[in-house]
Amino acid sequence: MNENDEIKRLLSTIAFQNDQAAYKELFILLHKRLKQFGYAILKSNEEAEELVSDIFIKIWEKKEKLVSIESPLLYFYTTAKNLAFNRLQKQKRLKSLNPEEWLMQVNSIPLNPEELMMTAEMLNKIKRAVNELPPRCKLIFKLVKEDGLKYREVAELLQLSVKTVEAQMAIALRRLGRCMHIELKTAANLGFSLKK
């Protein structure tokens, strides 16, 4: 099942049956990534935790209205962004409103190289490459790859064009690809520049 459909199903169970089990399931499904997103903006674990809690208080209080949401995942991220902005504004940390200042962590590079057919050296290179992505590029990469947002959702959330999201994703993948070319000397030496 598509994750947005799953979230929609949970939201309507919560709205119509007042179902606390579905509420908990939804919290557990989204907590980690929303907290990471909140942390990227707020740069405080404690505040990011409160932010997620605030989002879910809103969800419980407004549950009747949430059945008609078309992109629930985007709704959660937009709410997280808005609530985080409110906090920043109260604290007068206006510099952090700029996505260039957000520090997003990427999780899903596996620790164990044997899980993938790669050498440890190559995996380390990939991890480094991911960490060294420009902030906005890393943020977009994480939102698409790990958090499951569509390009148009990321574009809306960060107020960019879909073309920009496409381009940033291409940059991220290309940098990762470079790590592999070193392993494959011929391809690396020839590079792509020789083509056409």
């Binding site: 496409e166 690809g177 494959l184």
Partner: protein, 371 residues
């Protein structure tokens, strides 16, 4: 777009499930022409698909903290299974004791709206004590009920509820005028009893005007929906939609005939058969300038009247200014008026009314006589 830029755009779109059929075909052709890319492509696809094993133990803890925090913030969440009940902190219990003690000592404590009785722990003891909040003519107050609902009480009004309000039921009685902002709780509907009607709500914002000396009881709904039962017709339920106002004629007989001379002594209450209860549903009166609702403006210290007779306005002014007004001229009593009173004194208000309606008045102390 360059050849390789195009490849990376298409390839990342494929991984993200964003690529169209045409784009997938284009990508396939690119890869076919460049078989040496295969190794990197394969690795990146593996890496993309790889999801580290999910560990939700932190999420479970985080959920517990969240539920605890919700309780502390007073967000109604319903009952939780016992094993999930967060441990009540000592600090909080202390707070409750001191609040309870203070409540016993200071009768008027509730007027400040800070009492919170939702964590009562004496489960077995049935308490039927009654809290009563009343406002004198000329004054208003804001009350916060234990469930977080807010009631603004207009002048000369009284709100009562049992000490165990919110435990099983949320019931209040109202004499006078109250503006209600009721916290949502589907399991425990909020019920307001007045002399002539009962109102049942799940969570919404509305105004109830049920002064015993008025000839009508008015219920104005701003948001949500409410169900009204007229006490003399218990089987008829009236559902109000937002922006509607329900007017129920109170069972007062002498009002219509005496019209201009409506002091309390003239009103007689009689048990009249069901048929005599007149009901009408009207639209709320919106102020065209800022779309505020006239019926609820008293909470902003505004007395707004639209197309009301002087005699009806006089009753409101009596409460507003804590005066006694007697209109001795029937033509003046039936005069229809529009206006807003805000910071004006009673004398300023009467002077302003004189500009549109010719009348004379005498004011001695708290008594105004209009000729």
């Amino acid at each position: 777009m360059g050849y390789q830029e195009n490849f990376w755009v298409l390839f990342s779109k494929k991984l993200s499930n964003e690529a169209t059929t045409d784009e997938l075909k284009e990508l396939e052709n690119l890869i076919k022409d460049n078989s040496e890319w295969q190794y990197a492509i394969q690795n990146l696809e593996d890496l993309w698909k790889h999801q580290p094993a999910k560990d939700y133990s932190h999420e479970d803890d985080a959920y517990m903290l969240h539920i605890h925090r919700m309780k502390e913030l007073g967000v109604p969440f319903g009952e939780m299974p016992d094993n999930q009940m967060p441990v009540k902190s000592k600090k909080k219990r202390m707070l409750w004791y001191s609040v309870a003690a203070a409540a016993m000592v200071i009768a008027g404590f509730f007027l400040f709206g800070s009492f919170s009785g939702k964590n009562k722990s004496n489960k077995n003891q049935i308490v039927r004590e009654v809290n009563e909040i009343s406002t004198r003519p000329g004054s208003k107050s804001r009350v916060e009920l234990p469930d977080g609902s807010i009631v603004w009480l207009n002048a000369g009004s009284k709100l009562t509820y049992n000490k165990d309000f919110g435990k099983e039921k949320r019931e209040v009685t109202l004499v006078g005028e109250g503006f209600f902002d009721v916290t949502k709780n589907k399991e425990k509907p909020f019920i307001i009893s007045t002399a002539s009607i009962n109102i049942k709500v799940l969570g919404t914002v509305f105004n109830v005007k049920a002064y015993s000396e008025d000839k009508q009881t008015e219920t104005s709904l701003l948001h949500g929906s409410i169900e009204v039962t007229i006490k003399s017709r218990p089987n008829d339920k009236i559902i109000l939609s937002p922006s509607e106002k329900l007017i129920v004629e109170n069972q007062i007989t002498s009002v219509v005939t005496t019209g201009f001379k409506r002091t309390k002594e003239n009103i007689t209450r009689t048990a009249i058969p069901d048929i005599s209860t007149l009901v009408s549903i009207n639209k709320l009166t919106y102020n065209p300038n800022d779309s505020t609702v006239a019926e609820a403006q008293w909470i902003n210290n505004k007395l707004i009247f639209r197309d009301e007779t002087f005699s009806d306005l006089a009753v409101q002014m009596e409460r507003w200014y804590n005066v006694n007004i007697e209109i001795k001229n029937e033509k003046v009593a039936q005069q229809r008026l529009n206006g807003t009173l805000e910071t004006e004194t009673i004398t300023q208000a009467l002077d302003a009314l004189q500009e549109t309606t010719p009348f004379r008045y005498e004011k001695t102390g708290n008594k105004v006589v209009i000729h």
